[in-house]
Amino acid sequence: MTIVDLTSMGEPQTEQQREINARLVSLQNEISSYCYQCAKCTSGCEAHKLLELEPHKIVALLKRGLINELVNSDIIWTCMTCMKCRERCPQRVAPIEILFALKNMAVASGKQIPGKYTAMLQSILSLGLIQDIQQITTRMNTTVKRDELGLPPLSKPTDAQKFQAAVMKIATEKV
C-alpha cells in the first residue's frame, strides 16, 4: 500500500527521506516531520523573489517523501546559503541543510551540475575562493579595490596541492 502523486505518478522514496532526516539529526536540527508550514523560511528567503525558491515547499515535499522530484529539479540550485531559514525556523528544521542534502544526492546520481557551480568549484580548487577578488563599483560609480576600503587582505591556501587534495577528499566522502 502506498500513496501516489497523481500529477507526476510519483511515489514516496522513504529510503532517501530517512537519509535526509538522519543528516538533519546529525547536524542537531529537527527532522522535516516537525515542519508546520508557517513559511517563515520562504517569507525571508533571499532566493525566493528572483528565483522562486520556496523552502517551505521543499520541506513539505520531503515530508511526503517525494524526493526524486526535488533531486531532478533545478530549483534546488538557487539557494544562496544565507542561512536565514535555519536561523529563524521556529521548529529548528533548517531547510538549507535539506537543500545541501538534495544537491549532494543530485551529484551522486550523476545529474549535471549547473555550469556556474562547476566554475565555482574550479575557482575554489585553484584559488581557495569561489571567485577571484574583484574590484567594487560604488554608488558614486567609481571603482575601488579592497585595500582602498580599509579591508584586510583575504587569506589563500599556502600549499595549493595539499588544499586541492583535501577538498577532493571531502567532496568524495560527502557525496
Binding site: 508557517c38 517569507s43 536565514k84
Partner: protein, 652 residues
C-alpha cells in the same frame, strides 16, 4: 498463626484472558497460611466486596491478599472493604497481576506462572503485615491565597463566602492582575474592568478577607492543615488608614509624568507617588522607592512635595519593611504569568522600532483609562494608524523560545481586530499573519467567523522580519493559502507574544516545595484527574501559573482550587496515612543524613537527644531516608526489610 484470604479478580477479561484465574485461585489455596482463595469477575464491584467481607467473617481472616490491578487503582477501595469486614486496612496486600502481568504478556501459561509467583510473594508479605492506625492532626480553618489577579480574587471570594478566613497576598500596590489592564474580553466583548471591579470591591469589603497588597510571601513552614506563613509587607510610605486616594501627592510629586508606568506597559508616565490605575483596590497611593527623590537621594526640595501636599498627613517616610505571620490550613497559588520579552525576537524589531508593540500595549491604547484615553495612536508620531498588522505566535510554538501554544493569542488578536475596526473605522487596513487560528472555546468559532466577515487581510504564514522604513514598517510574508509572497507596508505592528512563567517561578516553587513542569509552569498532581492539586498536600494552583489559559478557564480553575481547599478546611482533623517512615531510636546514631536527603523536609534531628525524628504530617513515605540511613534506623512502616526480603524469598 496468621489467617490469610486470597481473592483473584478477572477484571472482566483484562486479566482472565491471559491468566488462568481458576488455576491461580486453586494454587493460592495451597499456600501456607492461606485459609481461603476465591476468584470473581469484578472484585471491586459491590458483589466482589461482599464476597471479601463474608469470607473475612466466615474464615476469621486477619490478612487479605487481592490479586488484581495496580494498587494505584483500587488499594484504597480494598482497604475500605477490609476495614468494613473487620480486618485492619493496612493488612491488605495487592498482587498486581494486570499491569505487571496480564497486560504485559501474551502466553497464558507463562503469565499464569508469573501471576502465581506474584501472589506467592504477596502472601509472603501478608503474613508479616502489622496493623496500623492513622494519626490525626487538627486543621486551621483558614487559607492563604497568593496572587491577586482574577484567579486569586475568585478563589478568595469563593472560600470567604464559604465562611473561611482568607489572607490574600498581592505584590503590586493593587489587586486586579493582568485582567485589569484589558479593555474588553473575548468572545462576548464584556468590558474587562466592568466585570472585574465589582469583584475587587467585594474583596476589599469582605469581612472574611484580609487583603495584604504590596506584600510578598517570605517563608512557609508546616504541612497540610497547619501551615505557618511569613509575609513581607514592603513599605508603602503611605498610611493606609489616612490616605483617601485623592491624588494630591501624585499631582505635587516632582517626578510627575516622568516615571514609566508599568500598568500602561511603558506607554504612559506616572509620578513616583502613584496609584497604578483609577479603580485600584485598595484605593490608596504608594510611593515607589526605586524612583522617589527623597528615598533615593535623601532630598526633595526643602520638604518632600507629596508630604507637603497631603492634607491628611498620610505620607510617612519612616515606614519600614514589616514581617507578619499567619497560620493557615491550605494555600492557593495564583501567581499568574508574564509575557515573553519580544526583544528576544530580534527580527521583529521590537526594541528598535517604537511602532512595533505588544498586544498588551495595544490593550492599553484601546482602553479609555489608558495613556491616550482610548485613542489609537502610533507611538512614533502620535498619528492614527491607517494600517495595523498583527503577528501571531510571536515566540509561541517556537523551539527556540516558548514551545507551547499561548492559548489566548488567536482570540485576543481577533478581538483587537474587531475593536480596531470599531475605533478606527471600517476602512482601516488590518493584516493578520497567523499559522492556525485556534478558536476552540465556547462561542469562539462564532467570533472568528464574525471577524472573517470584516474587511481584513488574513495571511496564513509567519513573517521572517519587520523592517523599519522610518515612514512605515515593511513586512514580507509568504501566504501559504495563495502560495504568493506579499509585501505589507503598515503603520503599526502588533506582536502577540508568548505567555511565560513568572520570572521568579523557580525560586517561588522552591519556597513552597512545588514541582515545575518542563515549560517552567507549576506542575499539577495529575493533568486530568487532579488538575488543581500539587504534589504538596494542602497547596493548590489555579490560573496561568499552572499554564497559559484564558479568563474563563482561569476562573473555573480558581473555583475548583477553592473547593479542593474547602475539603481540607471543613474538617476539624485530618487523617494522616500511617505508611510513612519511623525511627528505631536504639539504632539511630544521629548522623543527620536522613535530614539532608528528605525532599519533604519531614526529618529533623532532635538537638537534645541526638536522635532523628519524623514529622508525620510532612512525611510522604517516599523511602529516601530508608535507603540513605547507614545504621538501618530508618524504617518504613509495613515496608520493613524483613517483610520485603520475605517477599523475595517466597517469590524465588
Amino acid at each position: 498463626m496468621r489467617r490469610v484470604g486470597v481473592f483473584v479478580c478477572h477484571c472482566g477479561i483484562n486479566i482472565a484472558q491471559t491468566v488462568d484465574v481458576k488455576a491461580l485461585a486453586d494454587y493460592a489455596g495451597t499456600l501456607p497460611n492461606v485459609v481461603i482463595a476465591k476468584e470473581y469477575k469484578y472484585m471491586c464491584s459491590d458483589v466482589g466486596a461482599t464476597l471479601i467481607k463474608d469470607s473475612i467473617k466466615k474464615h476469621k481472616l486477619d490478612a487479605v491478599v487481592i490479586a488484581s490491578c495496580s494498587p494505584r487503582m483500587h488499594e484504597h477501595t480494598f482497604r475500605r472493604v477490609a476495614k468494613d469486614g473487620g480486618v485492619n486496612p493496612y493488612r491488605v496486600e495487592i498482587a498486581n497481576i494486570r499491569e505487571q502481568c496480564s497486560w504485559a504478556h501474551t502466553t497464558k501459561e507463562a503469565a499464569t506462572e508469573k501471576a502465581k509467583a506474584l501472589v506467592r510473594s504477596a502472601v509472603g508479605k501478608a503474613r508479616l503485615l502489622e496493623p496500623l492506625e492513622p494519626s490525626m492532626i487538627p486543621v486551621v480553618p483558614k487559607a492563604l491565597v497568593i496572587g491577586g489577579g482574577i484567579a486569586g480574587i475568585q478563589a478568595a471570594l469563593d472560600l470567604a463566602n464559604d465562611g473561611f478566613d482568607i489572607t490574600l497576598v498581592e505584590r503590586q500596590p493593587s489587586i486586579g492582575g493582568h485582567m485589569a489592564q484589558l479593555d474588553k474580553t473575548f468572545p462576548t466583548l464584556d468590558c474587562s474592568s466592568c466585570i472585574l471591579t465589582p469583584k475587587m470591591m467585594e474583596v476589599a469589603n469582605h469581612e472574611k478577607i484580609e487583603l495584604l497588597t504590596y506584600a510578598e510571601l517570605q517563608n512557609v513552614e508546616g504541612s497540610i492543615g497547619n501551615y505557618t506563613v511569613t509575609i513581607k509587607k514592603k513599605p508603602r510610605y503611605v498610611t493606609l488608614d489616612k490616605c483617601t486616594g485623592c491624588g494630591d501627592c501624585a499631582a505635587a510629586c516632582r517626578l510627575k509624568d516622568r516615571v514609566v508606568s508599568e500598568f500602561n506597559e511603558g506607554l504612559g508616565k506616572r509620578s513616583a507617588a502613584y496609584m497604578p490605575f483609577p479603580q485600584a483596590v485598595p484605593l490608596k497611593y504608594c510611593i515607589d522607592d526605586s524612583t522617589c527623590l527623597f528615598l533615593t537621594k535623601g532630598k526633595c526640595g526643602d520638604e518632600p512635595a507629596c508630604q507637603k501636599a497631603c492634607a491628611q498627613g498620610a505620607i510617612d517616610f519612616t515606614q519600614k519593611e514589616e514581617l507578619v505571620e499567619r497560620k493557615v490550613g491550605a494555600i492557593i497559588v495564583t501567581t499568574g504569568y508574564q509575557l515573553l520579552d519580544p526583544g528576544r525576537l530580534y527580527e521583529y524589531g521590537y526594541t528598535t522600532s517604537p511602532d512595533v508593540i505588544t498586544s498588551l500595549e495595544l490593550e492599553r491604547l484601546i482602553s479609555s483609562s489608558g495613556p491616550t484615553k482610548g485613542e489609537i495612536l502610533r507611538p512614533s508620531n502620535q498619528q492614527k494608524p491607517k494600517s495595523v498588522t498583527f503577528i501571531l505566535c510571536a515566540g509561541s510554538r517556537d523551539e527556540t523560545q516558548c514551545t507551547w501554544c499561548c492559548r489566548i493569542g488567536c482570540m485576543s488578536a481577533l478581538k483587537q481586530v474587531y475593536l480596531l475596526k470599531e475605533k478606527l473605522g471600517e476602512d482601516v487596513e488590518i493584516n493578520l499573519c497567523y499559522q492556525d487560528i485556534r478558536a476552540y472555546g465556547k462561542g469562539y468559532e462564532e467570533f472568528y467567523r464574525k471577524v472573517r466577515g470584516l474587511p481584513t487581510n488574513l495571511f496564513r504564514g509567519r513573517p521572517s522580519e519587520v523592517r523599519d522604513m522610518k515612514e512605515y514598517l515593511k513586512i514580507d510574508i509568504f501566504d501559504t493559502t495563495t502560495s504568493k509572497l506579499f509585501e505589507i507596508k503598515t503603520d503599526l505592528v502588533v506582536l502577540i507574544p508568548a505567555l511565560m512563567p513568572q520570572a521568579d517561578a523557580t525560586a517561588f516553587a522552591r519556597l513552597l516545595r512545588l514541582t515545575l513542569s518542563g515549560d517552567g509552569f507549576f506542575l499539577e498532581a495529575h493533568p486530568k484527574l487532579r488538575p488543581v492539586d500539587t504534589f504538596v498536600n494542602g497547596i493548590f494552583i489555579a490560573g496561568c501559573c499552572q499554564g497559559p489559559k484564558d479568563i474563563q478557564d482561569t476562573v473555573s480553575q480558581a473555583s475548583a482550587a477553592a473547593s479542593r481547599a474547602a475539603t481540607i478546611l471543613t474538617k476539624k482533623e485530618l487523617e494522616i496515612d500511617p505508611l510513612i517512615a519511623m525511627v528505631d531510636e536504639e539504632a539511630c546514631t544521629g548522623c543527620g543524613i536522613c535530614v539532608e536527603v528528605c525532599p519533604y523536609e519531614a526529618r529533623t534531628l532532635n538537638e537534645r537527644t541526638r536522635i532523628a525524628e519524623v514529622n508525620e504530617a510532612l512525611c510522604a513515605g517516599c523511602g529516601a531516608c530508608i535507603a540513605a540511613c547507614p545504621s538501618n534506623a530508618s524504617i518504613h512502616k509495613n515496608f520493613t526489610k524483613k517483610q520485603l526480603l520475605n517477599m523475595v524469598d517466597d517469590m524465588m
